[in-house]
Amino acid sequence: MKPHNIQFSLNGEKVALSVEPSDVLLDVLRGRLGIKSPKVGCDRGDCGTCTVLMNGKTIRSCLALAVEADGAEIVTLEGANSRKWTQKLQKTFHAKNAFQCGFCAPGVILSATELLEKNPKPTSHDIKEAIAGNLCRCTGYEPIVEAIAETAKGK
């Protein structure tokens, strides 16, 4: 199989590289582009720790091929750190000690960012729906859900 030349926007910067057709986006981000906030948790789309934004929508980068990113806008937490809702969320997460080991945090924060960017007044159910694909083994989710709700309320 022939390598493909792809180009995409990564956290606002243009990147161009050659990938194998079977290369997984997560591996390319982590292994070749030095982007470490998306993590390898299960490699089959179950845990959500590899979550990134593709054209504004969360995807599991372990289930996406690198070639699918061609021409797209990819944002990881490294890039989202400058987004308005991400920053507001981070402030609340920090104040509430919402995370423990922190391994799921980048994925959860991107899922929550997507939610609030589209729906700044979510119900409790909306919040749960938004992060239902992000597994966290430490927190019992309660402080995370509370922090998202508080952020939306602008407390």
Partner: protein
């Protein structure tokens, strides 16, 4: 330099603290000092570290059989694959290893003992090539009869998992029975059991079973090893136990010329541990592979499936309980037999069995007691530490049984627990005395919180509401000489770096250590950094397990801070001729009670010293070191009775209650409210304690409601992924969680603190089982208590 300029005027401080005055930092819910790193995505976990283009990757050849003899291994095809650097088999690593019992090799040598056991490894320039290479290694096996059940493993004609058990070395408090599958048998004999049963008005006997469980930290295990040309081994591991790993690496690989000083273990943040990253599992393979390809870093990263079948699992347990109770509601006798399925290797798991055996009376005063806790080898994957360390398992049976017996005697089950609950000074199962405990307060607070005694009805007639309340206790399971140490260093601006080797596994250790030092030295938490371990630089810590590091490592940090404080006060006394007893630290200054104008800012002297009148400088960098070892502990006791030692340092106690809604037809359960009160001695950071309570409860409830490891008859795990082994999502949260903190000080704890991490998970199973019975009248005696089991039990009840 003008001396007067170095002495700044004291600022008026609202929070003036002198000896004996109120705490200002300990007890506050300060934000985590690792918060921003984790929330910004800057925190680095082991697999995030970069090793450059020379990095090699390893893949394993694993046993397809639960028990087989290895007849031959043919590596020739794999070796020829382009990109394969080395194929490694067990032949080169003939030293057995283990934490408490040396019962395993780095690679299986002549016998494989569980499905998935490592037989060989292929090291290659790319992970895909390594995997392909592993597929080319041809292993010929002769299958042997296997045993998958801990009770069957005790039968006379059972296959022996370790025929050479007699030759294995182990800690002196283990009692293996060579010629059987019994790896350790912890016995407790206290009082007069026969008399206790005679005095009973009701004796009840039953069996409760608990399957195996998986930790499911979201970060899989990973390890990178580099054995450099100078002969030193550096390991980067995702570990709760960097120093214990260093010791095991050095001991196991000593034939390659390693001494402890040549082995360096670096552990950065870890993405969840729960006991699964305690001790040594796959890391020893990475260490061996590094030795096999000197000069090049080798990475071993566990897949999610390997995470399930080749790390420690939680032990399965069959618990046979016989209890005697008087009409007055007093436990007169308890005979508890725990049969543990500990898997193919028990180098760590046997200590789970030991810990449970020492404490299976639960937090009750039981004068006539017999406990047999039996660690049994089987041909299933090895078991080891899991949050709760054996206590979840025996509490399921014990707390189920207590509720049943109380009800049968017409005694309120909560009143029953209150009556029997252990008190400070009571004799523990092994003969030592109980530490101060707030268990009665915990019972009372939870009882109120769940409106115990008030029968509630669901709005939905298809559903019933049940309530339950149980008690729990747990002690750190550790060798009697497990110790902690800390270094504390001041910087030019008066900020502090603390070096410990307790691991930040999510619980908030770094923050709590900073708070302890902050309290002693009056330096704000925001000016303190606590570093994750590098065994070359950071001082010794045994392991981050057993909910003991707040206590053990916290004591070491407190001592280090006190030592630094002493050095500061000595210096000021020497240079300024002020009596030390009049000096105190406040707001990053040294102040003096007899000279209100005196205030010496830390940043003016903690590195560069104090200039004396003759223009010379006195002092130098201010540092402190602290060591803590529980010098009263001893693990040696009579093997037949368990009496005589002091194996446990203290117990943390508590109580939990639940309001559960159960669907009468489907068995589906919804936790309407759960309250958990735990006596943590002193909550150094209440927010972090609450975090342990809320998180631990959900992890516990998942083991009761749906998690379950399923094996086929050949010993193969059928559900090694998150689709088939469900862990909770946000949709599974209880409706309401009420954390309650009780503070009855632990006399030898830092500011009175004792551990709390595991305790929040262990009461969950009997809570659900008892609440289901309260709601629907059916009793489930095997975990998990799934909705299917409940629905089937309700159907069966209807047929009766």
């Amino acid at each position: 330099m003008d001396l007067q300029k170095l002495i700044t005027k004291p600022k008026k401080s609202a929070k003036s603290k002198k000896a004996g005055e109120e705490l200002t930092v300990v007890g506050q819910s300060v934000p985590r000092i690792d918060g921003w790193e984790k929330i910004k995505g800057a925190a680095r976990y082991t697999d995030d570290l970069e090793f450059g283009p020379g990095l090699l990757y390893a893949a394993l050849v694993e046993s397809p059989f639960a028990h087989a003899r290895i007849k031959s291994i043919d590596i020739s095809k794999a070796e020829k694959l382009h990109g394969v650097v080395k194929v490694v088999t067990g032949g080169n690593f003939t030293q057995k290893f283990g934490l408490y019992m040396n019962d395993r090799y780095v690679f299986a040598t002549d016998t494989v003992r569980f499905v998935g056991e490592q037989v060989a490894a292929v090291v290659a320039t790319d992970p895909k090539i390594a995997l392909r290479g592993a597929g080319l290694v041809k292993v010929e096996y002769e299958e042997l009869p296997a045993v998958m059940d801990a009770v069957k493993a005790l039968e006379k004609d059972s296959p022996l998992v370790h025929p050479d058990l007699k030759s294995y070395t182990h800690v002196p408090w283990f009692f293996p029975k060579p010629g059987t599958n019994i790896a350790h048998w912890r016995k407790i004999r206290k009082g007069d059991l026969a008399k206790g049963f005679k005095d009973a008005d009701l004796v009840m006997e039953d069996t409760y079973t608990v399957p195996r469980y998986a930790h499911c930290a979201i970060e899989p295990h990973s390890a990178i090893g580099l054995f450099d040309a100078s002969g030193r081994l550096t390991m980067w591991t995702s570990s709760q136990s960097p120093f214990t790993q260093r010791h095991v690496f050095a001991e196991t690989l000593k034939s390659f010329g390693l001494s402890h000083k040549d082995v360096r273990v670096i552990s950065t943040y870890i993405g969840g541990g729960f006991g699964g990253k305690a001790g040594v599992t796959m890391e020893i393979i990475a260490a061996a592979l590094a030795i096999a390809v000197p000069g090049r870093p080798v990475k071993l990263l566990w897949s999610r499936a390997q995470e399930f079948y080749n790390t420690y699992q939680r032990l399965g347990c069959t618990a046979k309980i016989k209890m005697g109770v008087s009409k007055a509601g007093k436990i007169t006798a308890l005979d508890f037999k725990l049969h543990w399925d500990s898997g193919a290797y028990v180098e760590y798991g046997a200590n789970v069995v030991n810990a449970a055996g020492l404490s299976a009376s639960g937090p009750y005063k039981v004068d006539n007691l017999s406990i047999d806790s039996m660690c049994t080898y089987t041909n299933l994957p090895p078991c080891g530490a899991y949050r709760g360390f054996g206590y979840s398992e025996f509490l399921f049976g014990l707390e189920s049984h207590i509720t049943r017996m109380a009800k049968e005697l017409g005694i309120d089950p909560v009143e029953f627990r209150m009556k029997n609950a252990i008190k400070e000074g009571d004799i523990l199962p092994y003969g030592a005395h109980m530490n101060p405990t707030g268990i009665r307060d915990a019972i009372e607070r939870v009882r109120k919180e769940i409106r115990w005694g008030v029968k509630e009805k669901s709005k939905d007639p298809k559903k019933a509401i049940g309530k339950a309340q149980v008690c729990f206790w747990k002690s750190p399971a550790m060798p009697p000489n497990a110790s902690s140490s800390a270094f504390l260093k001041f910087n030019e601006d008066g900020s502090i770096n603390i070096l410990v080797s307790g691991m930040e596994i999510g619980q908030g250790l770094l923050t709590v250590m900073a708070q302890i030092a902050s309290e002693v030295l009056s330096v704000p938490v925001s000016k303190i950094r606590v570093e994750t371990p590098d065994t070359d630089r950071n001082p010794y810590e045994w392991q981050t397990v057993g909910s003991h590091v707040t206590w053990g490592c916290g004591n070491a940090v407190k001592r280090a801070a006190l030592e630094a404080r002493e050095r500061i006060l000595d210096l000021v006394q020497r240079v300024h001729c002020l009596d030390k007893s009049t000096l105190y630290l406040e707001d990053q200054h040294v102040k003096c009670r007899t000279k209100p104008d005196f205030a010496l800012r830390f940043s003016d002297f903690v590195i560069n010293g104090i200039q004396a009148d003759d223009h010379t400088f006195k002092g130098g960098p201010i540092m402190g070191s602290g060591v803590f070892m529980p010098e009263f502990a001893s693990a040696i006791s009579d093997p037949e009775t368990g009496q005589g030692g002091h194996p446990n340092v203290h117990y943390t106690t508590g109580s939990a209650g639940i309001i559960l809604e159960v669907d009468r037809e489907t068995g589906k359960m919804k936790i309407k409210k759960v309250a958990l009160a735990v006596d943590c001695g002193k909550a150094i950071n209440p927010d972090l304690v609450r975090g342990q309570i809320v998180g631990g409860l959900l992890q516990g409830f998942a083991t009761v409601l749906y998690e379950d490891m399923r094996y086929n008859e050949k010993g193969r795990l059928l559900n090694p992924n998150f689709s088939d082994y469900k862990i909770p999502t946000v949709m599974d949260m209880p409706d309401q969680v009420v954390p309650i903190i009780i503070e009855v000080a632990q006399p030898d704890g830092p500011f009175g603190a004792r551990g709390v991490g595991e305790h929040t998970m262990i009461p969950c199973a009997p809570l659900i089982a008892n609440a289901v019975e309260d709601a629907l009248g059916v009793r489930i005696k095997s975990m998990p208590v799934t909705k299917e089991k409940v629905a089937l039990a309700v159907m069966a009840q209807g047929k009766r």
